[in-house]
Subunit: 425 residues, 4 copies
C-alpha cells in the first residue's frame, strides 16, 4: 500500500486490527450458529463475544513462536475465555476463517467502490448533457476526422462506467461467499447447516464446493473487473491529457490556488492527476496475471496465493478507490474552453467535411469510387497548400450555395445526437 494514495475508509479496512476483527467476526458467527443449533450451550455466543481479546502486538508476538498467524490469533483471542473457548474454531481450519474474512473485506471494498462509481457515473452523465450540443472535432488516429458532440465524450465514459458497475455487481455477487467446510472442504468435522447459518449472519452464502479454500477463480474474476474499471479511468485520463496539450488546449485539469507545476518553469500547469491515474492503471492491470496464476493451486490447496493476496487485495482496492474518488473531482471541476474547441474544428480549413462532399457527389450520381478519387485529390491538395477546402469544392463541383452551406456546417453532425442520449434515459 502506498501511504499517499490510501484514503479512508479503505485504508483502515486493511489494517491488521481490522483483519483480526474480521476473523473474530467469523469465529463468533460460527459460535452463534452452534448455539442456535443447540450444539453449544445457551449463552456461549454472548460470553465468547464479551471475552474475546484482540491485541495486535500480542498476536504478532505469539506468531513469532508458532509461525502461523491464525493459530496465534486463536491463542490470544481465547486467552481470556472460559468454557466457551471450546467452541472457538471448533471443527474449523484456518482457511475457513481467513477466506471467509477475505470475502467480507472484498465485498465491503467493492461496495464502497461501486458506490463511488455510481456517483462518478452521474457526474459524467451530467457533463454529457451539459455539453451535448457543443460541436467539437472528432479525432481518429489523432487526426481530425469529422465534427461530433463534445458531450458524447462524457456519455461514452458514462456508458463504460455503467457497464463496469454491472460487471462489478456480478463479480461481487460471486465473491459474496464464505467457506466453513474444514481442512479439505468435506465438512468432516462441521455440519453444512452450521456453515449456512453462520454465513447468513455475515450476509454470505456457502461456497457450493470448496477445497481447503474458496476457489481462486472467484477472486481473479473480481480483480479482472477491477482492471477494467482502472482502464476506463485511464481512458478518461488519457483523453484529458490529450485535450490539455498546449496546441489543443480544449480542457484543463483543475489547478489549485498555490499549486506549482514545475520547480523550474513557473508557467507550467500540468495534468499531473491524469498522469498519476494513468500510472495507477498500469499497477492495477499488472496484478491480473498474478490473480490468474493463483487459480491453479495444488490439490486441495497450496498457500502460494496468500503472499500474493497480502499485496494484491489492499493495493488494488485502495488504489482503485483513490482513482474513482479523484476522478469524480477531476471531471466535476474540469476546466473546459468552448472557444478553443470551436476554433480547433476549423483549423483544417474545412477538410473535415470531406465525407459530406463525397456523399453529396454520390447522391448526385457519381459512383462512390469516382467521388472518392475526386474529393481525395482536392483534399490532399488543400491539406498540403493550406488553402480552403470549401473554396476548392465550390470551384470544382457544381453545388449551390445552399448545398455548400449545408455541407460545411458542424451542426449537421449533431443532428442524431439526441437519439443517442435518449438511450440513457
Amino acid at each position: 500500500m502506498v501511504e499517499r494514495y490510501a484514503l479512508e475508509p479503505l485504508k483502515s479496512l486493511w489494517s491488521l486490527k481490522s483483519q483480526y476483527e474480521r476473523w473474530l467476526e467469523v469465529e463468533l458467527s460460527v459460535i452463534r450458529a452452534y448455539e442456535e443449533l443447540k450444539i453449544a450451550p445457551k449463552g456461549t455466543y454472548e460470553k465468547a463475544k464479551k471475552n474475546a481479546y484482540i491485541n495486535v502486538d500480542k498476536i504478532l508476538e505469539v506468531e513469532k513462536v508458532v509461525d502461523h498467524d491464525v493459530i496465534a490469533f486463536i491463542k490470544v483471542a481465547t486467552s481470556k475465555m472460559g468454557e466457551e473457548a471450546k467452541f472457538f474454531h471448533f471443527g474449523l481450519t484456518s482457511s475457513d476463517i481467513v477466506d471467509t474474512a477475505n470475502s467480507l473485506a472484498l465485498v465491503r471494498a467493492t461496495k464502497l467502490i461501486i458506490e463511488e462509481l455510481k456517483k462518478l457515473s452521474e457526474i459524467l452523465l451530467t457533463k454529457a448533457l451539459n455539453f451535448k450540443d457543443l460541436p467539437t472535432i472528432g479525432r481518429t488516429h489523432g487526426v481530425h476526422a469529422e465534427p461530433t458532440s463534445f458531450g458524447l465524450k462524457f456519455l461514452s465514459w458514462h456508458a463504460e462506467i455503467e457497464r463496469n458497475i454491472k460487471r462489478l455487481e456480478f463479480a461481487m455477487k460471486e465473491i459474496s461467499i464464505g467457506k466453513l467446510s474444514g481442512a479439505v472442504g468435506n465438512y468432516a468435522n462441521i455440519d453444512p447447516e452450521i456453515e449456512k447459518l453462520a454465513l447468513s449472519f455475515l450476509s454470505l452464502k456457502p461456497t457450493k464446493v470448496a477445497t481447503q479454500v474458496i476457489p481462486r477463480d472467484v477472486h481473479a474474476f473480481l480483480i479482472e473487473v477491477f482492471a477494467l474499471v482502472a482502464s476506463a479511468i485511464e481512458r478518461m485520463a488519457v483523453e484529458i491529457r490529450h485535450l490539455q496539450k498546449t496546441e489543443t488546449l480544449e480542457v484543463q485539469e483543475p489547478f489549485k490556488k498555490g499549486q506549482r507545476g514545475s520547480s523550474a518553469m513557473p508557467h507550467k500547469k500540468n495534468p499531473i492527476l491524469c498522469e498519476r491515474l494513468t500510472g495507477m492503471s498500469r499497477i492495477i492491470r499488472s496484478y491480473v496475471n498474478a490473480a490468474l496464476e493463483n487459480i491453479v493451486l495444488w490439490h486441495e490447496r497450496d498457500i502460494s496465493h496468500s503472499s500474493v493476496e497480502r499485496y494484491m487485495f489492499p493495493d488494488l482496492t485502495t488504489t482503485l478507490y483513490y482513482m474513482v474518488i479523484k476522478t469524480q473531482k477531476l471531471i466535476e471541476d474540469l476546466v473546459i474552453y468552448p472557444e478553443n474547441i470551436q476554433k480547433n474544428i476549423e483549423i483544417t480549413n474545412g477538410l473535415v467535411y470531406s465525407q459530406r462532399v463525397l456523399l453529396k457527389l454520390v447522391e448526385k450520381g457519381l459512383t462512390r469510387e469516382e467521388a472518392y478519387k475526386k474529393v481525395q485529390e482536392i483534399a490532399l491538395y488543400c491539406w498540403e497548400n493550406k488553402t480552403s477546402f470549401k473554396d476548392a469544392v465550390k470551384k470544382k463541383f457544381n453545388l449551390t450555395e445552399d448545398e455548400i452551406k449545408e455541407i460545411f456546417d458542424p451542426k449537421y453532425y449533431l443532428r442524431n445526437v439526441n437519439k443517442i442520449f435518449k438511450r440513457f434515459q
Copy 2:
C-alpha cells in the same frame, strides 16, 4: 495461430476468406435495411447479394495499392455490381464493418466454446458422481491432510466450469453488439434506425454509444473470461500431472497404443497433454494485458488495437477451443487407479487422522490448546520415526477400541459428501 493446435471449425472461422464473407454479411445487412426502410429501391439487396464478388487474392492485390484493407475489399466486392453499388458502404466507415464483423466472429467462437464447455461440464459431473464414494487423501501444501472424496475433485472442476459458462454467457451478451454509426459514432450520415434494423439481421444490438469503434472494454472483458476458462483447465491439468507423478500414480493421462513417451527411455508414459494445456494457459493469460491496454484508445479511436487483435482473436479462440476439446477426452478416458488411491491414504501410518484425535480429546474435556500440544507431540514423533500413529494414540490416550476404530476410518470424512453433491442437482 499455431497450425497444429488449430481445430475446425475455429480454424476456418479466422481464414481471410471467412473474414471477407463476414464483412460482406454486414454490408449486405445494411443494404437490406436501406431497402426495407425504402431508402434503396426494391431489389437492391438481392442484386447486391448476387453480384457481390469476393476474391481473396484480388483484394490483397488492391490492398497493396490503397494500403487499407476495407477499401480494397469494397473495391473488389462492388466491382461486378451495377447501380446497387451506390448503397454499398453508404454512410458507413470501415470500422462499422470491421467491428461489427469482429463481434460476429467472437460471438460465433464463444458459442462454440460454450457448447463444448457444457459437454465438458457434464463429463466432469459424471466422473464426480462415479467417484463420489471413493476415499482419497486430501492434500494441502502438497502434504497429506485428511481423507476426502475422490469425486469431489471432479465436482470442484465442474463447479468452476459452470461459473465460467455463466461468465462467458454474460460476456457474450455484452459483445453481441454491432456498430454502424459512422466515422466518429454520431450517425452523421446514417440513421440509427438503419443500424438497428441491419444489426437485427445479424442477431446483434446497437452499441449504446460508440466512438469510431465499439469500446474495447467489451472485448477485454470477454478475453478476461477466456483467461479464467484457460486457468480452470490448467488447474485440472496440473492436478492430473501431480496425481500421475510416479510416487503417487493415482491417475494417468490416456496413452495411445503405439505412442512413445520418450526417444531415449522406452518405459516412459508422460502426461504430455496436461503439460501442453498448462503451457497454453500461459499463452491465453498473457494476452489479457494486451487486451486491457487496447481499451485506452486516443480520442474517437486510434487503430493500435487492430494489430493486437489480428494475433489475439484467432490465437485465443482457437487455442481455447483446442483446450476444451482435448480436456473432454482427457477427463473421459482418464485412467484411474483406485488401489493406489487407497494405498496412499495410509502411507503416513494414520497421521492423517490427527484432527479427529484432537477433537475427540476436546470433546473429552481438554482445552483445544492442551489437546493440540499433546497430539502434535505424538504426531511429530511418529512422523519422524515412521511408527504407527494409531498405536501411539491407543497407548497414550484413554480411548475405547470403538472410539479408535471410529477415529481411524476414512469413510468418516465422506459422511457429508452427499450433502455437497445435492447442491448440484
Copy 3:
C-alpha cells in the same frame, strides 16, 4: 504467426521444414563428433548426411501414431539409412535435439534483428545530426516546457537502440549454447567431449549444467530484451503519432501515392504504421510473463514450456523483425515540417521562457522563492488572457532590451547540444 506481418527470412526460419532441417543439422553434428572421436567408423557422417531423409508430410503422418514429434522425425530421417542409422540420435534424448536446434533458430533470428537494428540506429543518428540545430518546443506532461533541439529526439532514440543492441548481444551470447547431455542432463550415455565437439560445429557452447533441457531463464532473458526493443520502437511510434496530431502537425508518417486513409473521409492521412507498431509492442510485451513462467519447470523438466514456445518464438521474432524493418523506412522517409515546428514554439506567447526570467531575477538578487512567485503570477495571467508574456516581463521587471532579447531566444536552449552529440562520436 500473422501472415501479413511475417517477412522473409524470418518467416521461413520457422517453417516446419526449416525446423526439421535444424534438427538434422544437430543430429549430424553429433554423428560427425562420434566419427572424429573414433567412436563411429570413418565415413559414417558422410553417409548419414547423404541418406538422411526429410519429408514433412511423412513425419507428420508418423507423428500421428507415435504422438511424439522427435521420434517421428528420427523414424523418417533414418528410413533410408543403412548401418549409419545406429549412430543417429545415439545416447541422446529428444530435448538434446529440440533445445539445441531452438538455440540455433533463436541465435539466427537475433542476429538478423541486431543487424537491422544497427541500420536503424544509423538512420536515427543521421536524422539526429540533420536536425541538431533546429529548435523545437520541448514538451513535458504534454504541455510546452522549454525549447530544445529537434535532433535530440532522434538522438535519444538512437541511444536507446544502442543500449538495446548491447543487451541483445549479451543475451544472444547467453543463448548461444546447446545441450547434448541426455535424458536428465548427466551425460549418462554420451561423453561431454562429444557434446563439446558437436556443438562447436554449430558455433554453440555446452550448457554448463542442464536438466533434460537448457534452463529457461536463458530464453526468458532474451525475450525480455526483445520486449525492450519493442518498447523502444513503440516510444518512437507514439512520439510520431503525437507530432502528427492535426493541431501539432510537425511530422507525418510517409503516405504512399494511391493510399487511402479512410473509407469514409477522403481527406485523411493517418499514422497507421505507427499505430500498428504500438499494438505490436503490446503483443511482444505480453509474452514476457509467459516466458518467465516457463522458467519454473518441475524437477529435471516438464514440457509445459513447449506449447508456449511454439507460439512465442515465431511470433516474437517475426513481429520484432517486422517492427525493425518498418521503423527504418518510417524514420528515413518521415515527413518533417520545420515551419510548423517553429510556429509551435511561439504559440504560448513567450511563456516557455519563464524559467529564464526566473533565473535572471535570481541572478539579480531575488531569492528563488520570491522570483518564482512573481514569475508564476505573471505567467498564469498571460496564459489565461492570452497576452504576450514578453511584454508583461518587460513592463514588470527592470530588464534591459538586450537582456529581454537574450531571454526570449530559442537558440539559447541549444547552446549545449553539441556537447551532447559529441558523446556519440
Copy 4:
C-alpha cells in the same frame, strides 16, 4: 510494501526520510560542483550542508499547498539557509533530483541484493558438492526418468544464480547514471561539466542523452532481471515443494520448534516458506509489464511512470531482498532424507534403466527401432503388472549376469558428474 516482508536495511531505504536525504545528497553534490568549478563562492557547500533542514512532516504540510513534492522539499530544505540558498536547485528541474536519487536508491538496493545472492550462490555450491555423489531419480514430466546426482539439482540452481548475478551487474551498471540536464535534458541552464562532477561525487555517470528524465528502458531492464531472480528462486521453491510431497518426502523445509503447520491438523509440516516464495515471484513478475509500459512516455516526458514507481521500486526490491535472505536459510537448513531418496529410485522395479537396456541391445546389433519396440513392450508390461523389469530383461534378452549388473546400477549415471562439477571450479 507489505510490512511483514520488509526487512532492514531495505525497509528504511524506502522511508520518506531516506528519500528526502537522498534528494538532499543530490542537491548538495551539485552545490559542491558549483563551488569546485568556482561558480559558487568558497564555503557555499559546507554552509548549505550545515543549514539544510529536513523535516518530513513540514515537507508534507507544504506539499499540501503546492501539490508538488520536490518544490515542498526545496522550500523546507532551504528554509534555514542564508545566501547559499541561491545555489540550491540552481539550474535544475525536479526530475534531475528525483531521477538521480532514484538511481542511487536502486543501485544501493541492487548492491545489497547482489551481495546476498552471492552468499546464496555459495550455499548452493556447497550443497551441490555435498550431495554430488548421492544418486537420486531424475524426473521428467513428473515421471521417473533415469538416476542422476542429487547434487546436480543444487548445481543447476547455483549456475542460474550465477547467471543472474552477471545480469544484475550488467543492469546495475546501466542504472548507475544520474541526470542533471534540466527541464528538457538540453543543459539549458546548467553546464554538462557541473553534471559530470556532481554525479561523480555520487559514483554515478551522466546519462548520455536524457529528456526531462532518465529513459525508462534502463529501469525496465533492471526490473526484468529482478523478475529472473525471483523466478530462479521460485524454481527452487517449487522443487522443494515437490520433493516434500508426502509420497516423495525426499526433503523438508526447516520446521521450527514450536511451529504449527495447521490450526486443525496437528500432524502437519508444510513447506509454507516455499509457497510464500512462489507467490512472491508472481508479484515480482507481475510488475514487468508495468515497467515496460513506463518506457513509452510522451514527448520529453510525462509523469505517468511516477505513481507506478512509488509502488514498484519499494515493493520489488524489498520483496526480492526478502526472498534471497529467506532462501539462504531455506537451502542451508534444508532437511534431506537420503534413505527416501534412495528408496524412491527403485519404486518402479527397475524401469528407470530402460534406456540402458535399449542401448545395450543396439550395441549388440539391433537397430534402434527394433530395440525400442522390444524394450517398450516389456517395460509397459512390467509397469502395468508391477513386476520386476530386471527379471523380465534377464529372461527375455541374452545378457550376462555382469551385463545385467552393470545396466541396473544407479552409480553408472553419475560417472560423468565430476566433469560437470569441474566446470564450476
